[in-house]
């Protein structure tokens, strides 16, 4: 599948309802083309392009067998299976999924909930969307199994507002699952009741943050909650709640069917299974590829992604979505798993690999990134609200040619003073890449100084100075 990274990114900042329609059309025309590569290991994507949105087809392709099996297991056994599989959260933080489930109290006076986080909004990330589009029942199945594991009877699938065009697919899938008795009262004749609801967002990246998502689902402004208490103990409507990324949940049925050992063995230690990597940017064959955890990044760029077109050179890679610190061309020989990237000073994040060639202006890229975070900051806390706005203003002026030497230090100073001090990780998400850009590409910042136009602009045009938000 071809992904136009610019299109994805611009959407967050500027799309209005009006021009969204055309965007949707645009996308739908691109929806069909799926990519593939021999190194792929298809666990989550195995039904992509197979018509599995139809429940009959899904059933033919082993659908709902995992639920059937899970219904015969003790809840603890399900939790252990998932724990031992080494499945780690695909939403960004990479927490061991089974371990997270084990924090949910067994007894609870309040109902427990399972939440599927399908708010997918991190620039560079576009994998959950394919799952909803091609294999919606896999998500439903994952939600039900998570429910069985923690003793919940209600699940919600929360889908990003801009994915409105996927809602029909999801709603149909839910309807079919109810009709066939996979959902509702007495599922599969087991005596266990389980309901799943679909819910659409209203267009906020921040609502992907787990506690903000719960607020949003409860009908409030999407701002995060004070923690502790953590969702596993006090979550949606005050009840214990498991919240997982859509890809995480879609990985659960294969684990139940294939077993923890099989799944764990696909990836390196403590990083079980596969990942949907979203390759975008300056690549010959961008797209979403399912590769084993720990796949080498260099190989991913040059072999899977087909290398850099137009005989350009690699400048940098954003390895895990726009919030992860970039790696320079010298740093790409790295294993794509949570622990190795952490060691390399970055993060695996949400699996969005954005490749930048040497025609890219890092200052402009930093500005584009900051525009996104400034626009998406929920505004709850001072450092993120004010910091992103200040950084956006400064970077705008800077890129437009109005930069001063002290601005470079100031950009770094601001980002460093946001880092680790905000109410939720969005502030970090804005700060981390910024710090990396300044630290790793300081020279490029300096090249913009003293009224010099951006060296990367073909027409050396000085942009208009910013108008206040």
């Amino acid at each position: 599948m071809i992904i136009d990274f610019r299109l994805l990114i611009e959407d967050h900042g500027t799309s209005t309802i009006k021009n969204q329609k055309s965007t949707i059309k645009n996308r739908q025309s691109k929806m069909a083309s799926l990519v593939s590569h021999p190194d792929e290991v298809r666990v989550v994507s195995k039904r992509f392009g197979q018509g599995a949105t139809s429940i009959d087809r899904y059933l033919e392709l082993d659908g709902y067998k995992a639920v059937q099996k899970a219904l015969g297991m003790q809840p603890d056994a399900i939790v252990n299976e998932v724990k031992n599989s080494g499945l780690r959260g695909r939403g960004g933080a990479g927490f061991n999924t089974g371990l997270k489930w084990s924090f949910v109290p067994k007894q609870s006076p309040k109902p427990k909930y399972v939440l599927c986080n399908g708010d997918e909004s991190e620039p560079g990330t576009c994998k959950d969307r394919l799952i909803f589009e091609h294999d919606p029942h896999a998500v439903i199945e994952g939600v039900v199994i998570a429910g069985l594991a923690v003793g919940s009877h209600t699940g919600y699938i929360y889908i990003r507002g801009e994915y409105r065009y996927l809602s029909e697919i999801m709603q149909k899938a839910l309807k079919d699952a109810y009709a066939r008795g996979f959902l509702g009262k007495n599922i599969l004749g087991s005596g266990y009741d389980f309901d799943v609801y679909w819910h659409g967002g209203a267009g906020a990246y921040e609502v992907g943050e787990e506690s903000a998502l719960m607020e949003s689902l409860e009908g409030k402004r999407g701002i995060p909650r004070v923690r502790p208490p953590f969702p596993a103990v006090v979550g949606l409507w005050g009840g214990p709640t498991v919240i997982n990324n859509a890809e995480t949940l879609a990985s659960v049925p294969p684990i139940i069917l294939g077993g923890a050992e099989w799944y764990a063995a696909i990836g390196p230690p403590k990083n079980g299974g596969t990942r949907l990597f979203c390759l975008s940017g300056n690549l010959a064959r961008p797209g979403v590829y399912e590769l084993p955890m720990g796949y080498n990044l260099k190989k991913m760029i040059y072999e899977v992604g087909g290398g850099i077109p137009n005989s350009r050179k690699l400048k940098a890679v954003v390895p895990g979505g726009s919030s992860t610190p970039c790696l320079t061309a010298d740093e790409v020989d790295v294993s794509m798993d949570f622990d190795s990237l952490m060691k390399a000073g970055s993060m695996l994040g949400s699996g969005g690999v954005v490749v930048l060639d040497d025609s890219t202006c890092i200052v402009k890229f930093a500005l584009r990134t900051m525009k996104f975070y400034q626009h998406e900051s929920c505004g709850w806390c001072i450092p993120c609200r004010e910091g992103t706005d200040w950084l956006k203003k400064t970077l705008t002026r800077f890129h437009a040619g109005g930069g001063l030497k002290k601005d470079i230090d100031n950009i770094q100073y601001l980002a460093e003073n946001m880092l680790g001090r905000t109410f939720c990780p969005l502030g970090d998400a804005a700060a981390m890449p910024t710090i990396a850009f300044v630290k790793k590409f300081r020279k490029e910042f300096e090249d913009h100084l003293e009224g010099k136009p951006c060296p990367f602009e073909k027409e050396a045009a000085i942009e208009q100075l910013p108008v206040m938000a």
Partner: protein, 791 residues
């Protein structure tokens, strides 16, 4: 008692701290004098973690942690003042100031702004910011609330105090990111209780008060802690006073130091309705009727005339003068008036606008002490039974105490009302009853099962009532609050029920600032101070001298007596019976009528002499709130050429040839002449000195000092023997309601006329408040319409 939970020990900046489990780190730090800066944290409201000012270092945690959301744990080691923490604070301030207008020179909050203070303490003086600041125009949300977005630091205190504290939920946050903005409930304006709590709690100058904005700078005011003059709850308020042409002008009311029974609470009346004081209609000169018209006169002229006429009428027939006291004058004035009527006018024809059956209450308690609840008890009681009244409208502080007790202490509220009052939202049980059935509730609770017939409804079954009674009987330390619906014989019935509950206490709700004091000080035709029957005058005979022993006539009877020519004089001190109690103004056409008031009210306009008085903000003395909490009034404002009622009563006695030493025991006791040392108004001391000199009295001891009579009150009025030191240093002192003569005559319940004020009215006084008249909510909407939905 269960074992007290084990205390948690931790170390903060090398100091050992122990606090109960569950304590927030920021609070634990306070106990050892370590202040962790905060904007969004505000005790007793929900935690936000939004301002990030309180970041501290906790050992073993990689990132700095917010002290406002961290619950202490054993052996925690905390550093609140290392380089990393200091840098974090500084950066937070830099980021805030980056977009802050810094219009401190004209900002109302300048000088008392938490952002200024923080910047001063934690340093972010030089600015790295060189971008254009975001701007948004100032908005007026109501006549009393203005909002200036650029100054707002988004601490969400206003949102929480309005929602969680007031249960109004009129404020919210709109938009996101840097364009987030606090927004009022009606798009561009507020429809709410207009309490101004949001303004008060705002740490900066983003929310400003219509009454105060751009008027003065905080350091140009004198700050005087006194008591609100409006409802019966007795909020402490700190008045900001400034010199003005006519004397001292009050420009602000708040209670930021949280020093009183109300913490930082004030309702719209306490916060803004001091403005009646400089209403242009205020009387500033005595008026004497000449040829049918009220014309300006001198004080001397007025006193002489009153002295002469009152003496004549008294000497002809001792019982032919009627005295109407006030529910807004001080205890000292009420006591003095009670004494003046009996001793100087030689009559028991004295009464006041009764809004609660305090005599029946006193009698029902039959001398039992510790059975009346203080306003503080209402906040701390484990359970509350509320019968009748609508505290949200009529007793805003009491409603605040109840609400927040339920919210913070999970108190159980049992509310019984004939209206769906707003407090039902806090109630564990809410029983709606037919109008007028409150007495039946008392009867049912006291054991009369047949009374339930009149109480059952769709929401309150017979079983429901029985269960409620059972539940109430198992409560301990229950506070029983009842409105004036419970009076006469119903009152002892309810008290009997309550006395059987261990530790139960009562609050009897009266409506005006000193209604309780008026009752306690004996503004009754049959009762002396302390509900002492006139017939058995005992110690009052001994102290005061000879007083008539037959009960006088009550208020309504005064008008009848005047009509038949039996009542020849009427002396009204701060009351408006013509408008408030339907007194026939023509009944007094042949009587000599003296009225002391601030305004030419309906009653004043029938007077022969009108004397312009100082109001409660303009004098010293004490008030007793409806719970029985005794508090000190301090003089804040002043309008030249008005006099306190106390001084006027003394001057009238003098003009009648009475030896004022027998009226005011000045020069004795501890309170001898504190008037001059208590910041007496300019000229007051001189004026008094002249009078004293002329009377051959020691100028240091003044009969005009109301405090001179406090000793006598404390000595003679049962329950008032509280600590004077505490009282005078501004603390509330709970008095026990005690009747000297056991079983005082049950009073005629029909004499009670509740004020029925709502949040935006305050009897006659309220009519002269610009603030109260200006808000759109003052349009007497149906209760259901004025209510704002929770959440």
């Amino acid at each position: 008692m269960a074992d007290a939970p084990k205390e948690i020990s931790l170390t903060v900046d090398g100091k050992k701290v122990t606090s109960p489990p569950g304590t927030l780190l920021i609070e634990a730090c306070k106990t050892v004098g370590i202040e962790v800066p905060s904007f969004c944290y505000y005790p007793n409201f929900s935690l936000q973690g939004a301002c990030r000012m309180c970041l501290v270092k906790i050992e073993k945690m990689p990132k700095l942690q917010t002290a406002c959301t961290t619950v202490i744990s054993e052996a925690m080691t905390v550093t609140t003042n290392n380089e990393e923490v200091r840098q974090a604070r500084k950066a937070m301030l830099e980021m805030l100031l980056g977009n802050h207008p810094l219009d401190c020179p004209v900002c109302d909050a300048g000088g008392e702004c938490e952002l200024q203070d923080m910047t001063f303490s934690y340093g972010a003086a030089e600015s790295k910011f060189m971008e254009a600041k975001n701007h948004k125009d100032e908005q007026q949300w109501s006549p009393v609330v203005y909002f200036d977005r650029p100054r707002c630091i988004l601490c969400y205190r206003c949102v929480r105090v309005c929602g969680e504290g007031m249960d109004v939920w009129a404020l919210g946050v709109q938009n996101r990111g840097v364009v987030s903005v606090i927004a009022p409930n009606k798009e561009d304006h507020l429809e709410c209780e207009e309490c101004g709590m949001c303004i008060d709690i705002c740490p900066v100058g983003a929310l400003t008060s219509g009454a105060y904005r751009y008027k003065t700078r905080p350091w140009e005011m004198k700050h005087v802690g006194t008591i609100c003059t409006h409802c019966g709850d007795g909020c402490k308020t700190t008045l900001g006073v400034r010199r003005a042409e006519s004397g001292l002008q009050i420009v602000r009311g708040d209670n930021r130091d949280k020093s009183g029974i109300n913490g930082d609470f004030l309702c719209i009346k306490g916060r803004y309705a001091f403005d009646f004081a400089d209403n242009p209609e205020r009387l500033k000169q005595p008026l004497v009727r000449k040829d049918g018209r009220l014309l300006p006169a001198t004080w001397e002229e007025a006193f002489e005339l009153i002295g002469k006429r009152f003496s004549e009428i008294r000497d002809k027939d001792g019982q032919s003068i009627g005295v109407v006291g006030s529910t807004r004058t001080t205890n000292e004035e009420n006591y003095l008036l009670s004494k003046f009527a009996r001793l100087v006018l030689k009559t028991n024809n004295i009464d006041h606008h009764r809004t609660a059956d305090f005599p029946a209450f006193a009698a029902a308690l039959a001398g039992k002490t510790d059975r009346t609840a203080s306003m503080r008890d209402v906040f701390n009681a484990p359970a509350i039974l509320l019968i009748g009244n609508n505290p949200t409208d009529q007793h805003p502080l009491l409603a605040w105490q109840i609400r927040n007790n339920v919210r913070l202490h999970r108190a159980r509220l049992y509310a019984i009302n004939c209206q769906p009052i707003k407090l039902r939202r806090q109630a564990t049980n809410f029983m709606e009853i037919p109008s007028g059935a409150e007495g039946k509730v008392a009867a049912f609770l006291a054991g009369d099962d047949t009374a339930a017939d009149a109480l059952t409804s769709a929401t309150a079954s017979r079983d429901g009532w029985r269960q409620l009674r059972e539940k109430l009987r198992t409560e301990q330390n229950l506070v029983i609050i009842f409105g004036s619906e419970i009076r006469g014989n119903d009152l002892p019935t309810l008290v009997k029920f309550g006395l059987a509950i261990p530790g139960a206490k009562f609050v009897c709700l009266g409506d005006y600032a000193n209604s309780r004091g008026a009752a306690d000080m004996g503004l009754y035709p049959d009762l002396l101070p302390g509900y002492h029957r006139v017939a058995d005058a005992g110690k009052f005979h001994e102290e005061w001298g000879k007083i008539p022993s037959a009960p006088g006539i009550a208020l309504p009877a005064m008008a009848d007596a005047a009509k038949t020519g039996k009542l020849k004089g009427l002396y009204v001190v701060g009351a408006n019976p013509v408008a408030r109690l339907g007194f026939d103004p023509f009944a007094f056409s042949k009587s000599f009528v003296v009225v002391q008031d601030m305004f030419l009210t309906e009653t004043a306009s029938i007077a022969d002499v009108v004397l312009p008085v100082a109001n409660a903000y303009e004098k010293s003395g004490t008030f007793t709130n409806t719970c029985g909490d005794l508090q000190l009034l301090k003089k804040a404002g002043e309008v030249s050429d008005t006099k306190p009622d106390f001084e006027i009563i003394v001057r009238i006695a003098d003009a009648m040839g009475f030896d004022v030493r027998k009226l005011v025991p000045f020069g004795t006791g501890t309170r001898a002449d504190m008037g001059q040392s208590r910041g007496a108004q300019s000229g007051e001391a001189d004026r008094h000195a002249v009078w004293l000199e002329a009377h051959g009295l020691e100028p240091k001891m003044s009969p005009f000092d109301p405090m001179a009579i406090l000793d006598e009150i404390q000595r003679l009025v049962p329950g008032y023997d509280v600590s004077q030191i505490n009282l005078l240093s501004g603390n509330d002192q709970h008095t026990n309601l005690m009747s000297q003569s056991a079983g005082s005559a049950a009073h005629d319940g029909s004499l009670i006329a509740p004020a029925n004020d709502d949040l935006f009215t305050s009897g006659t006084l309220g009519r002269y408040s610009r603030a109260l008249n200006s808000v759109i909510e003052n349009r007497h909407l149906q209760p259901a319409e004025t209510e704002v939905a929770a959440d």
